[in-house]
Symmetry: C2
Subunit: 118 residues, 2 copies
DNA sequence: CAGCATCCAAAAGGATACTG
DNA sequence: CAGTATCCTTTTGGATGCTG
């Protein structure tokens, strides 16, 4: 059985692609529906075009995202979750929802910790 | 409202701590119950003591994990999820469960992709 | 056992300039 | 618009040696 705890198992690589610095945010943004390159760039604060392009290529290769070029000038390229990728949406949304609700608790804990220690 | 898509929002830092290279695996391992340092080291394949210690410190500071020292020789140190951290367990387990089920699909997609392209 | 400190190599990733 | 290519800095993280 595939096991992310085993560093030799392909599951580890899948984990690292999805939880890579930008992977989660891209997948979450695409959970809302198809998006163009420039829309993703605007939605995800702080991402460079290089990293957006690079991470999207990884996700396309992993079969989680499709890339569609509409022939036009200027070119329109849109990205969309595959059925496989859509299987992740629920748990990713739950996870991001937890963060929305509990960021304040984490910040509070950090402050308390920094006050007690260095 | 806290928003991980905004690179200035503390939520982004919370996201990055949890989805850091080793953060998810540590939190998932602790989802099973309290664990000692050496147990975590054995459970999580490929992690160095340095990174285990470093990531645990971050999670403790974030209020997701507690560190307990039992005075003994040799010292016994155990880590456990806080109530806050336990709130993450369900969605993390769903996520890792998805990976267990679909690693094979991702590997298949990668192979198909590598065959068609370079 | 459970770390921390230091050093160093490798990888990630940002800035910039350029292209169809 | 949607990238690619190059350069260069920052970060990551492994190895090693040491400590209570």
């Amino acid at each position: 059985m595939s096991d992310a705890f085993n560093s030799e198992c392909p599951a580890r690589e899948v984990l690292e692609h999805i939880t890579s610095r930008w992977g989660m945010l891209i997948l979450a943004a695409l959970g809302e529906g198809p998006r163009r390159f420039s829309e993703l760039h605007a939605t995800i604060g702080g991402i460079s075009e290089k990293m957006l392009s690079q991470t999207l290529r990884t996700l396309v290769r992993d079969g989680l995202v499709t890339r569609t070029v509409e022939p036009a000038t200027p070119p329109r390229v849109s990205y969309e979750l595959t059925p496989l990728g859509r299987g992740l949406t629920t748990s990713l949304e739950q996870f991001l929802s937890w963060i929305r609700k509990h960021t304040i608790d984490v910040v509070t804990a950090q402050r308390r910790h920094d006050k007690q220690h260095g």
